[in-house]
Amino acid sequence: MRRFGFSTGALAGGDFRRALAMLRDLPATCVELSALRLPELEPLMQTLDHLDLSGFSYVAVHAPSRFDPAEEPDVIRQLQRAAARRFPIVLHPDAIHVPERWSVFQDLLLIENMDKRKATGRSVPELTEVFGRLPEARFCFDIGHARQFDSTMTEAFLLLRAFGRRLHQVHLSEVSSHNRHNRLSFGAIHAFREVSHLIPEEIPIILETPLQPEEAELELARAAEALPAPVTAPAWR
């Protein structure tokens, strides 16, 4: 059975405590603690050791998506707290200024594929370059970004074929043409099922769909419909 969970950012923006409270009542076994905006990072990191995360079998942290080059060392320093807990750190490749600085996180670093508006990190050639600079990093496959970049799901297939061995986490949502994360539509579910068999069962699935608490269970059911567990493991596992 797959493990599903939510991003705290999708549930409650920067208010990770409220999101965690919402999650207590849901059948979610994974969580991604979001600090997508830079000011959200410090409060999250300072509280990290005091949060009750006992209900989750998988916890990751999403690093800020934008910061200045001068701020990069401090962002990395703060994220060391997450690394000390062995929490994987999800990072947008276009946020990186000096890749070598991020190598301190070794295989705890998860590089995410990007949506179409970004200048890099969207396709296999672009991500190959990023992984070339961060060879130990693993892969966070954002299936919504991949579909927005290429609705035929060919790029999704190519990303999983190229980086399947690095795959550690999946982001699940529908991403609109205006680059907004939305709840899963019929079309998205249909498209995601095309590559579901390439995602091993043990990989945690983090929903990034913005939700009201009462919508969460239905969205989890849609997520399970979109990504049924594969019958056999993909060839690269």
Partner: protein, 356 residues
């Protein structure tokens, strides 16, 4: 020889035959320089939802001094009135650089919308312009700067042709040739040939000789590349990849990935690739010597002007047009050798899929 590459197939074929095709080499170099110029001049006019796409001789890497530039602003995203301004800006900048714009049929030099190109395959709404844009996107197109809208549209076109081809997935034939795609390529080639007669009438014979030369050579080459692209799905894919594609559940992504390599290659490179895969020196010399001669004629402004201005009455005794006929016959001979030699692996596919 090592692994055969589509990217260097023309150069590799020249080396393997120990010959030179200087007009082909020069036209390719001019095309690369012109594409680079356009990239510099136009790269602020597209976006993640739009691509400026060039077609014709520039995309085929057969660009000569007298070539027109066929282009379109391909739109794959939400509607935006600024798209027209971007289109007008492309036109203005090309005029500033004294680059000749598209031909008079107005198929190019304007906006093109992905929805029509992807959804209207066949049926009354699949206009001459629509099929031209769709097939040429696959067979002779290059995005000048931002390519993600272009890539999305091309993949969607291919996905439609493949997934809606029931025979490809459920048929019992051993050959895996995408017939829906092939039929549309054949339809496009026949449309071009019929339009040749239409233009002859519409323009009272003006420009007949130049159009005739192009029909015999470059237009036919595009069709040949389309045939080889479709046959290549059967010929070039390793058996283990075929097994992963045509398993119990259709898996078109690796097939689309395979076809994208042909979309990125020029028609001459696709032809050279086949001639390297299946060496046929006589066919190769006939095809490429003729094509080199053809591009040499087009690159010579006097010859090109002569072909452009010849009247019907002057055709018979004209030495330039005589060359065109000879080149066309030599090219046809090469095609006969390549596709209709019973020893050729293309022979059976041509018999099975080429006509009926």
């Amino acid at each position: 020889m090592g692994e055969i590459s589509l990217k260097s197939s023309v150069e590799d074929l020249q080396r393997s035959l120990n010959c030179e095709w200087p007009a082909i080499t020069a036209a390719s170099r001019t095309a690369h320089e012109t594409q680079a110029l356009l990239r510099r001049r136009l790269d602020d006019l597209d976006s993640e939802d739009t691509s400026i796409v060039v077609f014709g001789s520039l995309a085929r890497e057969e660009f000569t001094a007298g070539s027109d530039l066929d282009w379109t602003l391909l739109i794959d995203g939400h509607s935006d009135p600024q798209h027209l301004s971007a289109t007008q800006d492309v036109t203005r900048r090309l005029e500033e650089d004294r680059i000749s714009g598209p031909g008079r049929e107005r198929t190019f030099g304007r906006m093109a919308f992905s929805h029509n190109i992807i959804h209207q395959i066949g049926g009354e709404d699949d206009t001459n312009r629509n099929i031209t844009q769709r097939i040429l996107l696959l067979l002779e197109s290059v995005p000048v700067a931002q390519r993600i809208a272009y890539d999305r549209v091309v993949k969607n076109i291919l996905q439609r042709y493949l997934l809606e081809d029931r025979g490809l997935w459920h048929g019992s034939k051993a050959h895996k040739v995408p017939r829906f795609l092939l039929n549309d390529i054949v339809r496009y080639w026949r449309t071009v040939a019929v339009d040749f007669a239409y233009k002859q009438r519409e323009r009272a014979g003006k420009g007949f000789a130049l159009r005739n030369a192009k029909l015999r050579m470059s237009r036919k080459l595009v069709f040949v590349a389309g045939l080889l692209t479709c046959f290549g799905c059967h010929l070039y894919l390793p058996e283990n990849i075929k097994a992963s594609i045509f398993g119990p559940k259709p898996n078109p992504a690796p097939l689309i990935d395979h076809l994208l390599r042909y979309v990125e290659a020029t028609p001459l490179r696709i032809l050279a690739y086949e001639l390297l895969e299946q060496p046929h020196p006589a066919a190769a010399r006939n095809l490429f010597d003729a094509y080199n001669h053809f591009l040499g004629l087009l690159a010579d402004q006097d010859s090109r002007d002569r072909l452009e201005s010849l009247t019907f009455d002057e055709l018979q005794g004209d030495p330039i047009f005589r060359q065109v006929r000879q080149i066309g016959r030599q090219f046809d001979k090469g095609l006969q050798q390549l596709f209709f030699d019973p020893r050729s692996r293309l022979y059976e596919l041509t018999i099975r899929y080429g006509v009926f």
